[in-house]
């Protein structure tokens, strides 16, 4: 663990801020900038981003094209073109090296093309099957490639496809009563992403470096909290656990409680704590609204609620700053 501030990684953002504040001279700024944003650094960044954005846009173009359902092509031609894209991308991924960035991108393209092939098949042969079948089938077919590829964005794609399938199943064909469907779908999505988050943290601890991006943690945690905060906020205001909201609220409490402990004392992530506190704050404000507005809702009560809410929001931001400072000190080698 670094003990001296000079052993920490440099930050261009800080150098820029010092220059703007006049704390370093223009010459110093230029020299440091030339080192941190040299031509090779720019080239590497451009290489990654051009590949990522280029692939994304080409895939979007392909999806737009097949969605157009162009009558100039027969259905066999459409299917053939989509399948050539699918297998071509998969084979090219093996040729360029499946663990390289172009290989990853080609595999992402292949996985997206599975969905395109299924959709084109659905256009060509209208079987009357439910829409959820397209997405769950897509998720099932790409799973082997997703597992083999060890590439975090591909996992996110898989989770998104599966989540869409789950939502469509619950809304379209599930046996649950209509009032329960929405809450069940939220709960299911949250549970799926919570499982993924737990697996990510465990695998990362065991050395799975491909899962190390902080964005992945934030994405998964946001997906969990986003889905359980809604039922928790409604529960806090209505104070009723009807229509299957109970398990979702329990999941919210569990995620916030365990999440706070883990990200505060073990994994030290201020961003994750920020998300958890925002979620808790939303539920607390809803609960306070219930307390304030149960008996009368005059202007005086509204004002009191406004002041208390301002205090709660201010306290949350202040607490996060204090937590960040504390964690900073601990990581510098102070108290754990």
């Amino acid at each position: 663990m670094p003990t001296s501030p000079l052993d920490r990684p440099p930050s261009l953002g800080l150098i820029q801020e010092w220059y703007q504040r006049g704390l370093i001279t223009a010459d110093t700024h230029r020299a440091l900038l030339a080192q941190l944003r040299s031509v090779p650094v720019w080239r590497q960044w451009a290489s990654w981003n051009l590949l990522g954005l280029g692939t994304t846009l080409v895939l979007a173009g392909v999806i737009f094209f097949f969605a157009y359902n162009w009558q100039g092509m027969t259905r066999l031609e459409r299917l053939a073109v989509a399948q050539v894209g699918l297998f071509g991308a998969a084979i090219m991924s093996r040729i360029v090296g499946s663990r390289t960035l172009p290989g990853h991108m080609l595999m992402v393209a292949a996985c997206v093309m599975i969905g395109v092939v299924l959709a084109v098949f659905g256009q060509a042969y209208q079987t009357g099957a439910d829409t959820y079948g397209l997405f769950t089938g897509w998720a099932a077919l790409m799973l082997v490639w997703v597992v083999a590829q060890c590439y975090a964005p591909l996992w996110i794609l898989w989770l998104s496809v599966l989540t869409t399938g789950i939502w469509l199943y619950i809304i379209d064909v599930s046996p649950w009563p209509e009032q329960e469907q929405f809450w069940t779908a939220l709960r299911g999505t949250a549970l799926l992403h919570l499982l993924a988050l737990v697996v990510r943290e465990r695998l990362l601890k065991r050395g799975a470096d491909w899962l190390s991006g902080t964005w992945l943690r934030m994405w998964l945690l946001l997906a969990v909290l986003g889905n359980v905060t809604v039922p928790a906020v409604v529960w806090a205001y209505e104070w009723e656990l009807d229509h299957g909201k109970g398990p979702a609220v329990a999941l919210w409490a569990l995620t916030c409680g365990v999440g706070f402990y883990v990200y505060r004392y073990h994994l030290h992530s201020l961003g994750a704590l920020g998300l958890i506190l925002c979620s808790a704050c939303a539920v607390l404000l809803s609960l306070l609204a219930k307390v304030f507005f149960t008996n009368d809702a005059d202007l005086g009560t509204g004002t009191a609620y406004g002041l208390v809410a301002t205090g709660v929001l201010g306290a949350m931001v202040a607490w996060l700053q204090a937590l960040g400072q504390q964690m900073n000190k601990e990581q510098q080698g102070g108290q754990p």
């Binding site: 080192q35 941190l36 692939t55 205090g311």
Partner: protein
């Protein structure tokens, strides 16, 4: 460069410069972390608090007349500024932010309707004047960002109130693009203008999205679609910003820069600003090492593609060529970059292998 120490050593700074950098590094190490997302959170919290506090003033019949609204609005703004400048406590700062926002809103409402004949044009003008006056006075990035975004939002609202006003939309998009490029290109930009730079980037992306979306509202104003040439000035801004970050005019001597110009020109000719703006924001975010802006750029690109899919102005098959073609252009540019890098490495190896006379 994996550490500050290595960086300082490698750039060859003189003793005085080394001392100044080391001093700043030590100061930052001891300071509480203040990431950009926390500032954004404070801004959102301030906005919510402002909305929740607004009913309070109804108790004193403040909203009954323009005079009382103007007086109370002015007092609130002054109170907000005083509290913000004096209070070190986070809560006080937060409350001051809510007061300042509410005060500005009340002032705008009072002046825009002082003779009972309110028009949207006057509302925008008053908002602009109050923003220009209050911006330097209120020392809060969140406040500055929110009033700037609010002004841009009201300008767009003014334009959609009639087809005659909507003719200004292309000019607005061009100006917004140019100002965004200019502000982010200015490395020595005063700290006070940081919020304005973020607000311009945010407003530019938002307006482009709105421009894509507007033809969805066919029941409302059918002809409100900006001409396609608007993307050309945006492409020009993109080229200027890229060149500026990668060596200024000298960058145009590099072959890859011409490739970038060609791709940008094709994107400009395609008539869609969304992808150029996303790329522009990504380049800026990397040049400034600004993750918040990078996340915003990616989200914006996703949102743009989503809404563009549903846009009725361009046929789906044409959209597929535009989007796919842009993607192919970017991939081709990457191939050029890779080839140039390989050639540079090979030339270097050749030079090393050739014995010196």
């Amino acid at each position: 460069m994996s550490t500050w120490a290595q960086l300082i050593q490698s750039v060859g700074l003189n003793a005085e410069q080394v001392e100044s950098v080391q001093k700043q590094v030590a100061v930052v190490a001891g300071a509480p972390p203040d990431p950009a997302w926390l500032k954004a959170l404070a801004a959102v919290a301030g906005w919510v608090a402002c909305l929740l506090l607004a009913p309070f003033f109804s108790l004193f019949d403040v909203y009954e007349s323009q005079t009382s609204m103007g007086v109370f609005g002015g007092l609130l703004l002054v109170l907000g500024v005083v509290l913000m400048r004096s209070g070190k406590v986070m809560f006080v700062h937060h409350l001051a932010l809510a007061f300042s926002l509410l005060g500005s809103g009340m002032l705008v409402a009072a002046f825009a309707d002082f003779d009972g004949d309110m028009s949207f044009g006057r509302l925008v003008l008053v908002q602009l004047v109050i923003s220009v006056i209050a911006y330097p006075l209120v020392p809060s990035a969140a406040y500055r960002f929110l009033v700037s975004v609010n002004t841009a939002f009201l300008v767009v609202c003014w334009m959609v109130t009639s087809e005659r006003h909507y003719y200004w939309m292309p000019a607005w998009l061009v100006v917004l693009g140019a100002v965004t490029g200019l502000l982010w290109d200015w490395r020595a930009r005063p700290v006070a203008l940081n919020a304005l730079a973020y607000a311009c980037a945010f407003a530019l992306a938002g307006t482009v999205l709105f421009d894509v979306l507007i033809d969805q509202f066919r029941w409302w104003k059918v002809d409100m679609v900006s001409p396609q040439w608007v993307s050309l000035p945006h492409a020009a801004v993109f080229i200027v910003v890229v060149a500026s970050f990668t060596g200024g005019v000298a960058a145009f001597r590099k072959p890859w820069m011409w490739g970038a110009c060609l791709v940008a020109a094709l994107m400009g000719l395609s008539g869609e600003s969304g992808m150029i703006i996303a790329l522009l924001l990504l380049v800026i975010s990397f040049a400034w090492d600004d993750r918040l802006l990078a996340v915003f750029a990616y989200l914006f690109l996703g949102g743009f593609l989503f809404f563009y899919y549903y846009s009725l102005e361009v046929p789906l098959v044409a959209k597929s060529w535009i989007v796919g073609g842009t993607g192919l252009g970017l991939l081709a540019l990457r191939a050029v970059l890779t080839l140039l890098a390989l050639r540079a490495v090979l030339t270097l190896l050749d030079r090393k292998a050739t014995p010196q006379p």
